[in-house]
Amino acid sequence: MKYPRARAVWAAAAEAAFPEGTSGPSHRDAQVSERFWEWHDALPPGSARLIHLLLWTIDLFALVRTGRPFTWLPPERRLQLLSALRASRFYPIRLVGESMKGLLTMTLLSSPAVMRHVGVYSVDAHPADPYQLPIKRDALRVLDEREVA
């Protein structure tokens, strides 16, 4: 398997960010790791390098801040660390946190499990829809019948 360290960091972040045991789909339900690396493999090489740099930075930040690699930390501590990155007053650190949050959320929200959970549907058939979303052709008309405040 390619990039074992980067994969471990991503999986650890996904586990902390989208834990099991809530009313929403977890990282496992949403296949956050598998889908992320599929996406990564579709990126041009320069952009893929940026992703590796980001994951390496997360690992390094954990090491500097806690003395342990990111993957060695318990999930709650990993989540705290990701939140601390996002809240930093120092822009480059905050950028790392926001980028990680963005990638995690992007991967989660675009998963079929989350689409089903949210109730996403389409108004027209899509020839290449891998998600097989429900089609509600009259949805716009029905929605228009309700008043907006």
């Binding site: 902390a16 899509h126 290449a128 716009l140």
Partner: protein
Amino acid sequence: MRYGFPDLRQGFEVEADVVIIGSGAGGAVAALNLAEGGMRTVVLEAGPELRPEMMDKDAPRFMARYYWEGGLRAIGGSAQIPSLQGRCLGGSTVVNSAIMLRLPDWVREEWASGHHLEFLRGPGLEESYARIEARCHVTPTPEAVQGRRNRVTRAALAAVGMPGGPLPRAVKDCQGCADCLTGCAGGHKQSTDRSYLPDAERHGAQVYCSAEVERILVEGGRAVGVTGRVVDPLTKEVHRRFTVRAKRVVVAAGAAHTPVLLLESGLNPGGLVGATFHAHLGGGIIGMMEEPTDPFVGATQGWGAISSEIKGLKYEGLWAAQGLLLMRWGGLGAKFLERLHEIRHTAVIAQVYRAKVKGSVQRGIFGGPKMRLQIPRDEARVFVRGIRTAADALLKVGARFVMTGIHGAPEELRSFEESARLLELDVAPSHLPMTANHIFGSVPMSGDPRLGPVDPDGRLRGVEGVWVADASLFPSGSAVNPQATIMALSDLVTRKMLHRTIPTG
């Protein structure tokens, strides 16, 4: 005739009267005009052809394949600002919301007087707009596909005194799928791969996809063609080289790539290529409504209004694949997962601001464009004023709370008092959740050679046989979505190539 990667993996050499670099808003219009005018025309597009069956709903994967830098392109400078541009046949016209607005009179006058572009005062530009609008079926977004999300935007903007109107878009029989940013699988959007290139091909144009131009070939002070490499659209692996011999080169690679290509080719009249760069700063304000809005249906951007408070600022309703649009939404952890169902209640107002920013484009270390923008703090404050108005608008129509994404502000604003406090923040550009998808002005057109490297006929100064026909030409931001004006300027430039006169009125 159209060639894709499988046809070209061994490289190719062809001759033509004119070679056009780029197949987006500028390149496609140029292709039709020049092919129709009898020129042997070759169009080179770096990205692949994107057919409806390839437009899948997995938005991240789609972007990785069909956007430049896999959708991770960012403008540096005072903040890292994401900037999305399509990398496929038809360019960004395939992956934008197809909004077609004419240049506001005040911008037109600013360009005409500030850059000695007299032709902008005549009827020629209006005639070009009319031709383009007719071909692209530009019509106001119909009421039937607005959907509840756009209707919330309409009510919200009206509540703060900006009634606005349905946005005119290049779409025929829109179904309201809200999938514009991942391509119109139903084939309703009139992107240039549908509205222009097929007719250009019928007039003999040859279109080569997956052909990335690296240099314009110049001999004895005049262009003689271009050279580049064939790139695998999936693996991005570089295959064989290609050369197109032509005495006329039209550069329409977009405001990011056009200056880099010219610089790589040693073409930099007056040192002005890439020395300027402008962008519209975009941002989204998310309102959480009491009632479901089902935001994932209804026209992507169906309703918009020009700000009555801030010159050059425009509001629009917006949706995109939730994985892209809501990347920054909420936090992480169990609480975030428990709130996912709220997505059905969201309404998003996007603001697009023509900031007074200074920027530049250079070649980056990996060969691509390196764009920089320095956004002054006072412009960041104007941006926040715009956000505050949008937040108030959503609160006025009953949003339970509003999310702005501004660093240092409360995550959720629940009252007008809280939104008013946004104005007290000491904001820097890096505090703001901005995007900049409208980019321009990196090779501006000007009657004064000290202000722009391109003359009013679209010709690059200092070399024979090179024209520019994309958003690089804009002297500054257009204040509205740029597609219609890119197409109109390309129309004027290429008609002049054929007929030697630009209508001046």
